[in-house]
């Protein structure tokens, strides 16, 4: 709770700022906030998986490329085999990437940064194999697939937000309510101590990378659906935005500290910045600068607080 409170405070402050800044009070309306939630969904889902990875002292740079790859695979399969097979194929491809990432991280001495950087290129390359790298449109007849990114429950709550909340609940339970979650904290806090306690490091590590990749796959499906097409070149830089959400949410890069609610709030903060600055009419070049400085400040404050105790 000590960690969550400053984040809530930041969200309130940012919301007030944007409500005053964005002309004609267009920021603080129900429909705008629902839009905001919908836009946060993809980044938040990526950030949930990355939270586990970063918590155990790893990193996964491949999630952005996996978003593109899973989107293209799913849409490519969609026409011939229907949406169920499409989703299964997409998520299975994601799981394979997670397996490779996790196996290499657990069983070789290669640093995760390099492993996942390489797998990012591999995933991007595979994605660009489809349709010569040009977008694959999703036919309007694919109602279910398009609903995943665009429909609204009761004409109100966007489906991506529901999927995000579902992913959040599942991952939060896993991290904060299971022995597996406890073991991840131990691995991040002191990997050797975890080993000497009999915790199965390799198995847990592979699981974490697979979870991260599969969540990236889910994000990829939502993303493609939102775009009404699979774009092999999409998802560039998604990993960085997700990492930003994770660290703003209080997860430490040295491993061992961080919570899933923190990450959710981190994603909200990044989302408010993205949308609010845009609506306030800030030049896009300046948006980058401001976002960068906010991330720097957030992490600085977090580190300082942690070392004052």
């Amino acid at each position: 709770m000590k960690r969550i409170f400053p984040l809530l405070l930041a969200i309130v402050a940012l919301t007030i700022l944007m409500a005053l800044w964005v002309p004609q009070g267009r920021f603080l309306t129900a429909s705008n906030l629902l839009d905001l939630a919908q836009q946060i969904a993809v980044n938040a889902i990526l950030a949930f998986g990355l939270t586990l990875v970063i918590l155990i002292g790893g990193i996964d740079l491949s999630v952005g490329a996996v978003v593109a790859l899973v989107g293209t695979i799913a849409v490519a399969v969609l026409a011939s085999a229907g949406w169920i097979v499409a989703l299964a194929a997409g998520l299975a491809a994601a799981a394979v990437f997670g397996l490779v990432n996790g196996w290499c991280a657990a069983n070789t001495r290669m640093p995760p940064f390099i492993i996942t950087l390489a797998m990012m290129l591999v995933a991007r390359g595979f994605a660009l194999r489809f349709n010569e790298g040009r977008p694959l449109p999703i036919p309007d007849t694919e109602r279910v697939f398009l609903a995943l990114g665009n429909a609204r429950l009761f004409d109100l709550i966007p489906v991506p937000v529901l999927l995000m909340l579902g992913a959040f609940l599942l991952m939060a339970l896993l991290l904060h309510r299971t022995a597996f979650g406890q073991h991840l904290y131990a691995m991040g806090g002191n990997r050797e101590a975890a080993r000497f306690t009999g915790i199965r490091l390799a198995r847990n590590e592979v699981t974490v990378y697979v979870l991260c990749s599969v969540l990236a796959g889910l994000a990829g499906i939502i993303h493609a659906s939102q775009l009404y097409s699979a774009e092999p070149g999409s998802g560039q830089g998604f990993e960085l935005n997700a990492i930003a959400a994770v660290v703003v949410g209080g997860t430490s890069f040295t491993g061992g500290t961080g919570t899933l609610p923190g990450t959710l709030l981190g994603a909200v903060i990044i989302g408010i910045l993205d949308k609010g600055l845009n609506q306030a009419g800030v030049h896009f070049s300046l948006q980058y600068v401001i976002k960068g400085l906010v991330i720097l400040a957030a992490v600085y404050l977090d580190v300082r607080r942690r070392h004052s105790n």
């Binding site: 299971t178 073991h183 806090g189 101590a193 009999g198 915790i199 199965r200």
Partner: protein, 509 residues
């Protein structure tokens, strides 16, 4: 114990006094680490400082090195009173500490390390040619040619050579007073000899050396005089030639020896652990039996490969061949989880690195092995968790204000209790303790041993690994003397004498 050493030992020759400490006192919180210690070091003397963990040795040398400041007492160098406020000041006075953990940059070459922070420059640019030439000259002038090429990367050197680099660096800045803290802890016998040759040469050149070691045999061969510290007080100073090792051991361990001799009652039960011809990279064919209710002491010097045996048994570095039988059932141990399932627990040597998540709460560490007991599926049971924590804290008398407190707040002794206590929630058949009292104060050690006695008398089988002779001899029923990856001799502990054991352990083949 009424005996003390002669309070003022005769002066060795007519060498001038380099360092004189008088009435040095230092408190940490309520703990008195040093209590009016006097100490004298002459130029060209190797002066051994002896004492158990927590006797005040490291506080004393940290004061010399400018890391701590004394609460009371004076420091004189060459008869002049000095105040050492910081490490740089100690450097200026020519005092250099050489710790167990070396402070070299492993990724740089020998030459770069020797001149770290004062590299030769040419108009502001690093002059690499002169750097290597100067290093070469320095090493030869100091008679440390054994280091080998100054181009070699430090991480490629043996620990012994790294130590020589460290010494060379100290002497390069004109150190006149070297403090070596357990320098031979991880050296082989030949490496130790090379180090001794270096130190003897420095002695003839007039360097004053304070030498800290637990190894009496070494000290007898190397040092001129000995000062024994116990519980923060100096027990006096004596010439090496005039003091019996047996006496020395008694002065060092003092009242502890009596207590340690209370080994658990020996009522060996069924065979708990049986190992036959176990081999791995550094374990060279080990066989032994351990019964329920028995303590087998694995005595050996650091570097003999005892931890490697423990790691092979626990599945950290699984054995290549050999058989392990636990409770009569042959087991294959490929990872720690296998060992735990078979009923074998290892409490590792380095509790900070291998034992505990130091930033996490005490309760987190206590419950970590039993997460599946108190979390069923995704339903953590707070009451069950608190029960585990409470039982551990109560039965081991762990002094902690709040189990939610981060573990690094605890004293070394209480941290060690946490590492041991957490396994006793479901006691294993076999408990391997690797150096269980390193950095543990006397009081906590007594408590740990008392608890251990109770567990053993209740049928626990313990393999005790320790380089602390009085401890391993006093607590074990049988001793296995371990050297170079092998058990070289097994004998009932009651029949062993420290001198015999030490002689066997230090023998080189």
């Amino acid at each position: 114990m009424t005996a003390t050493l002669a309070t003022s030992a005769p002066v060795p020759g007519s060498k001038p006094v380099l360092l004189r400490l008088q009435g040095l006192t230092k408190h940490f919180g309520g703990v008195r680490a040093l209590d009016g210690v006097d100490f004298e070091l002459r130029a060209g003397e190797i002066h051994a400082l002896l004492g158990e963990n927590g006797a005040g040795k490291s506080t004393l040398i940290k004061i010399l090195g400018g890391i701590h400041r004394p609460d009371a007492g004076t420091i004189q160098l060459d008869g002049q009173p000095v105040v050492i406020r910081e490490v740089a000041e100690a450097d200026r006075h020519g005092i250099r500490l050489i710790h167990q953990e070396l402070s070299l940059a492993p990724n740089l070459s020998v030459a770069e390390n020797l001149f770290l922070g004062r590299e030769p420059r040419w108009h502001g640019w690093l002059d690499r040619r002169r750097l290597f030439a100067d290093a070469e000259r320095l090493v030869r002038a100091l008679g440390l040619a054994d280091i080998g090429s100054v181009h070699a990367q430090v991480s490629d050197l043996s620990v012994a050579r790294q130590q020589m680099v460290e010494i060379a660096r100290a002497l390069a800045v004109r150190a006149r007073l070297l403090v070596l803290d357990e320098p031979t802890a991880s050296l082989s016998a030949t490496e130790t000899e090379a180090l001794f040759d270096t130190l003897r040469r420095l002695r003839t050149q007039g360097t004053g050396i304070v030498y800290i070691s637990h190894r009496l045999e070494e000290i007898r061969r190397l040092a001129d005089r000995i000062t024994v510290l116990r519980d923060g007080r100096s027990m006096g100073t004596q010439h090496v030639a005039e003091v019996e090792p047996r006496t020395l051991i008694r002065w060092m361990v003092g009242r502890d020896l009596g207590l340690l001799c209370q080994r658990p009652a020996w009522r060996p039960g069924a065979l708990a652990l049986s190992v036959r011809d176990l081999r791995s990279a550094r374990v060279r064919g080990v066989s032994f039996d351990l019964h329920a209710g028995e303590v087998l002491g694995l005595a050996g010097l650091v570097g003999a490969g005892r931890s490697e045996l423990a790691h092979a048994l626990f599945g950290i570095a699984p054995a290549d061949s050999g058989t392990i039988t636990i409770g009569g059932r042959p087991v294959t141990i490929r990872c720690p989880a296998d060992a735990l399932a078979a009923g074998l627990v290892l409490v590792p040597e380095d509790r900070k690195r291998e034992g505990l998540v130091m930033d996490a709460a005490v309760a987190f560490n206590l419950t970590l092995p039993w997460t599946r007991d108190w979390i069923r599926g995704c339903r953590p049971d707070g009451a069950r968790r608190d029960g585990i924590v409470r039982r551990a804290i109560e039965s081991f008398a762990i002094r902690v204000a709040d189990p939610g407190q981060p573990t690094y707040h605890l004293s070394g002794g209480n941290q060690q209790k946490v590492v041991v206590a957490r396994w006793m929630e479901h006691p294993p058949k076999v408990l391997i303790l690797d150096e269980p009292t390193r950095g543990v104060d006397v009081g906590a050690r007594e408590e740990l041993f008392a608890l251990l006695r109770r567990w053993v008398e209740g049928g626990l089988a313990v393999l005790l690994i320790s380089s602390d002779l009085p401890e391993v001899m006093g607590l074990s029923h049988r001793l296995a003397l371990y050297r170079d990856g092998r058990i070289v001799r097994e004998l009932p502990a009651a029949d062993a004498t420290p001198e015999d054991v030490m002689a066997e352990l230090t023998r080189t083949e």
